[in-house]
């Protein structure tokens, strides 16, 4: 009878805090962010092939450096957010 009385009183399993909501949002943002910077790097590569300027090499390197920075920096940021 005691067991039956406790059924439905445990609310902890169903609670969804604001913190976890932020974590989900940031995870999605991180995925979108990485995808965006990846497409940006690709676009720069294509454009630098379309038009050749003296700055092309530098811009292409900058784009790919930015992509790596996003993956590493964003990853660290997401990790810190998730462990909070």
């Amino acid at each position: 009878m005691d067991i039956l009385g406790e059924v439905g009183t445990n609310e902890a399993a169903l609670s969804f805090g604001l913190g976890s909501l932020f974590k989900v949002v940031f995870t999605l943002l991180f995925i979108l962010y990485v995808a965006y910077s990846f497409f940006l790097a690709l676009r720069i590569r294509i454009l630098s092939n379309t038009i050749s300027t003296p700055w092309n090499k530098t811009l292409r390197r900058l784009a790919f450096f930015h992509l790596y920075a996003v993956i590493v920096g964003g990853g660290v940021a997401l990790f810190l957010i998730l462990i909070a």
């Binding site: 805090g17 604001l18 913190g19 932020f22 940031f26 943002l29 991180f30 962010y33 965006y36 910077s37 497409f39 940006l40 676009r43 720069i44 294509i46 454009l47 092939n49 379309t50 038009i51 050749s52 300027t53 003296p54 700055w55 811009l59 900058l62 784009a63 930015h66 920075a69 996003v70 920096g73 964003g74 660290v76 940021a77 997401l78 990790f79 810190l80 957010i81 462990i83 909070a84």
Partner: protein
Amino acid sequence: MVKDKKSTNKAPEIIIEDSEGNEVVSSEKSKKKTEEPKKEKKTKRKVGRPPKKEKEKEKEKEKEKEKEQEKKNEKKSRTQSKKKTSRKSDKTPKKKKTKKEVEHEKRCAELEKKIDVPVDKNVQELLDSGRTFVDNITKKAKRNMLSSFHPFPKGISFSNTEKDEVVVLVVRHHWTGLIPAFVLAVFVFLFPFILVFITDAWFEGIFSVITFNTGMFIFFIMLSITIVLDAFYKWFFEMNVLTTCRIIDLDFVSIMTHRLSETTFDQVQDVSYSPAGPLASLFNYGDLYIQTAASKNEFHFDKITRPTDVQDAIWDLRFLRMKKLGQL
């Protein structure tokens, strides 16, 4: 005549008469005597003679010396001939340059100073055409590749440029077009601070955790950098190019697509511009519309620097192109 004397123990002597009839006595001794010094001589020669290798070396040295002398002589003759020719050239009267040629050279030198690029034949043709657009576009123009108005840029080319095609002008958006992106980047940069310090009362739980805050700061700082970088890339690659043959318009439509449209000058029918707002008239930028006879009716140069000069350049380049094609 040969007479044999008595044979004795002594070595046999042979008497031989000369052609004059004198008797010449020859014997083995005498032969030996004569042979011995020869041998000695031979040995002496062997000792005294330098070996063949040394001789060869000496010969080679002599040859080298001769060659050196020959070279020196040649040099001398060359210098003499040069002197002679220079004297001759001094003597020959120089052709007097005409006023036109002098003016042309002056203009070329001025243009070289302005654009910092050696003026080649194609650019000289543009200068000699008598059109004013070259002076207009090179006036107050910056030589920097990152300027929004760059006449005769160095090192810009397309995949299908022709041999005699010259890139006359590269125009980009005015730098004021970057302001919204910078404002947005600053706002994104400040966003986590606003969240943490101002609205702390709203979300007490998660925003009091240090790791969450640091993670959020890193994320938004990087996001703001990306916004600035993206705006710069868009500004840099969204260029409008005028060459001697065509007009090229490169648009960075979205992250997934870009559009490269071009038209030839013979298809241009109308060019018009409108300054877009008070900032545009203050900083001399505006929108330029080019109507063409092609299926794509209009080229739109959005917020470009010095639109009047670009308009003038398009008309002049069109005129020159049509003239070259024999359509005028």
